[in-house]
């Protein structure tokens, strides 16, 4: 167990990757299912995590997936995504807002109507 930990671990801690910023700064609004797609190609001068996000997001990925692929916690990924968004290197699509969906009562009414047919 401990051997595996030692072999697996990285010298860098997560707070360095996020640059010490916490999520409050700019990331409200990212959801687990927010879709992310890259608008720019990764550049060699970028932080590796940013580059990795751009690389895997050439087709749309959800935040949850990015987090899983990079093996980084969601909160950290959202910080990184917020950076990229601020630089306009990615586009994000918010999950469907509830208002855009038909009301639940309407659905029920439709179902009842169908059942009555």
């Amino acid at each position: 167990m401990s051997n595996q930990d030692w072999a697996d671990a990285n010298p860098e801690r997560l707070y360095v990757i996020s640059g010490g910023r916490d999520r409050k700064s700019a990331t409200a609004g990212f959801d687990l299912v927010t879709l992310v797609v890259a608008r720019a190609r990764p550049e060699p001068t970028m932080q590796p995590e940013h580059a990795a996000i751009l690389r895997i997001c050439s087709s749309p990925l959800s935040v949850a997936e990015i987090s899983a692929y990079l093996r980084l916690p969601n909160s950290l990924v959202t910080v990184l995504l917020a950076d990229l968004l601020a630089e306009r290197r990615i586009e994000v699509r918010a999950p469907v807002p509830p208002a855009a969906l038909p009301d639940l009562s309407l659905l029920e009414a439709v179902i009842h109507g169908l059942q009555r047919l």
Binding site: D8, Y15, I17, P44, E49, S59, A64, Y69, L76
Partner: protein, 573 residues
């Protein structure tokens, strides 16, 4: 001799004169008396002369003796002086250098073999011996004190390390909860600071800094590792560095030395300035530069700092650290001595100090490191874990294969190959062919554990571009599970019902969180998100995007949240 007869002769003459001047009855008496007196005087004179001679001889003897004594005294003084000024310090130095007391004494005896009979020599020998005994005891005590030091430091290190691992797990577990996550990061940071202090104590105690690394670590990670151990890491600006890796044994000392230098740089510069951290290749290795915009180090201060480094290099005296020890440079000097780093401090163009640490060539490797920075090549990282019998080397061979089959232009970053979206994961799956998903078991070809090696590595490398990608590309996105390593795996064909259940509710995703109503800035909402190619990592979200684009929803909120949880990687638990 005649001198002593002179008074007698004078008396004789006087007596003769008196006898001649007054002849009579008394003449004979005068003569007799005169003769007796003359004889007595002569005897007295003779005795006086003899004694005078003897006295003279005695004086001469005394003078000779005195000279001799003086000479001996001088010789002894010289001997003592030599002992005090020369031989004692040399012997003590040799003792401190680790030689045994018997050896030192024997060589002293051999040096002075010609004056072995000298009684002072024996005394000097005794003095030397007593002093060396005292030194020996002192050294032993210091050593045991240092050992105790190191022992305690090791215990602290173990706790800190344990804590770091636990914290990382907690960070993964609470990644969804920003408040908890941020607090965890704060604790993690504090933990790293404690760890650095423990490392410093261990180094000053003459031991290795801390944990050992088996595999090379990319330089970038090493630099960030150094940053992660200082208080004010936000001020450090890390510039892009060349893509080399540091071999395992040098990783920890390098991280620690960098952390100390960075700590110095951030501590002694104004809080609003930033510290620049960069690394360039030089003839003899890699030069890591740390430049701050603080107060310039005057010539005097620089001399003091360099002297501290130099002193540390020649072995450090813990007593000399003083009441408020400035451990930093001492630790750096110690590490530099042990590992051959060259450290220099110069005035910086920014006005502050520029510290340059040169890592010798022998510690640098250009081979892609198996252990990578977060997010770059994490998938590859799992391979050595799955195949303990194949550490490092097979991996390195696997990288080119991955980039070949990935069908993307090779990027400067070696890790790029494993993560190109189109073929990246296919490639990652292709090279170990069961190595990347070793324990999942969902992979048809996955031969778990050590029986697999011959198949995946060698043949897969060259032939990857031709045949294998097709089946793999088909299969890779199937798995939506977690391996033991927490790696996501998808299973579409293998578990179609599950995927259907997961995908369908997602289309109706009513966004359970009330704060969600499109607060994310939408510079340009993705118009047609469905993946253009069939084997994109995002393909399975097509149903979702369809739903987003207007396909009527079909299920309730419950399914949606479940799906998102699943995607969020609950597997960490």
């Amino acid at each position: 001799m005649l001198v002593c007869l002179l008074p007698a002769a004078v008396i004789g003459a006087a007596v003769g004169f008196a006898a001649a001047a007054d002849p009579g009855a008394a003449t004979s008496g005068i003569i007799w008396c005169g003769l007796v007196g003359a004889a007595a005087v002569a005897v007295a004179g003779f005795e006086a002369v003899r004694r005078g001679r003897a006295l003279e001889l005695a004086r001469e003897e005394a003078a000779r003796r005195e000279a001799e004594q003086r000479h001996r005294l001088a010789r002894q003084q010289e001997g003592m002086l030599e002992l005090a000024r020369d031989e004692l310090p040399r012997a003590v130095a040799r003792m401190q250098g680790g030689e045994f007391i018997t050896d030192v004494l024997r060589s002293y005896e051999q040096q002075h073999v010609n004056n072995a009979g000298d009684e002072f020599h024996d005394f000097r020998y005794a003095v030397l011996r007593a002093v060396l005994d005292a030194v020996d005891n002192e050294e032993a005590m210091r050593e045991s004190a240092q050992r105790a030091f190191v022992n305690i430091a090791r215990r602290v290190q173990a706790i800190v390390h344990r804590q770091a691992i636990d914290l990382r797990k907690m960070e993964d577990r609470h990644g969804d909860d920003p408040a908890v996550f941020d607090d965890l990061l704060v604790i993690d940071h504090g933990n790293a600071l404690i760890g650095r202090l423990a490392d410093s104590i261990a180094v000053l105690g003459g031991a290795r800094p801390g944990r050992q690394w088996n595999n090379p670590v990319p330089l970038y990670s090493v630099l960030r590792g150094g940053m992660s151990r200082i208080l004010d890491f936000r001020r450090v600006e890390l510039h892009p560095v060349s893509e080399v890796a540091v071999v395992g044994p040098a990783v920890e000392p390098l991280i620690h030395a960098l952390a100390e230098l960075l700590d110095n740089a951030t501590r002694y510069s104004p809080p609003q300035t930033s510290v620049h951290l960069t690394a360039v290749e030089v003839q003899t290795g890699i030069a890591i530069e740390i430049e701050d915009g603080g107060l310039s180090l005057g010539e005097e201060g620089r001399a003091r700092a360099e002297r501290m480094l130099a002193e540390a290099e020649s072995g450090i005296d813990l007593n000399g650290l003083g009441e408020a020890p400035r451990l930093g440079l001492a630790v750096v000097g110690r590490l530099a001595r042990s590992y051959g780093f060259q450290v220099s401090l110069r005035p910086s163009a920014y006005g502050g100090v520029r510290a340059v640490l040169i890592v010798p060539d022998v510690y640098i490797t250009t081979a892609p490191a198996p252990s990578r920075a977060h997010g770059i090549g994490r998938i590859a990282t799992t391979t050595p874990l799955a195949f303990p019998s194949h550490p490092g080397q097979p991996d390195n061979e696997a990288y080119p294969a991955g980039s070949g089959s990935a069908d993307t232009p090779p990027r400067p970053h070696p890790a790029a190959a494993t993560h190109t979206p189109a073929g990246g994961f296919a490639a990652a799956a292709a090279f170990p062919s069961g190595g990347a998903f070793p324990s999942g078991g969902a992979f048809p070809h996955a031969v778990p554990a050590p029986s697999a090696p011959q198949a995946p590595y060698a043949p897969a490398a060259p032939s990857a571009p031709a045949a294998p990608p097709a089946p793999y590309e088909d299969e890779v996105p199937l798995v939506l599970e977690r391996t033991a390593n927490g790696l996501p795996q998808r299973r579409r064909h293998a578990a179609p019902s599950r995927f259907g259940a997961a995908a369908a509710p997602r289309t109706s995703q009513p966004a359970p969180s009330p704060a969600a109503p499109a607060p994310v800035a939408q510079p340009a909402p993705v118009p047609q998100t469905p993946a253009p190619e069939p084997v994109q990592p995002g393909l399975w979200l097509a149903a979702f995007t369809n739903g987003v684009n207007g396909t009527p929803p079909t299920a309730g909120p419950d399914g949606g949240s479940r799906a998102s949880d699943e995607a969020a990687g609950k597997g960490d638990k």
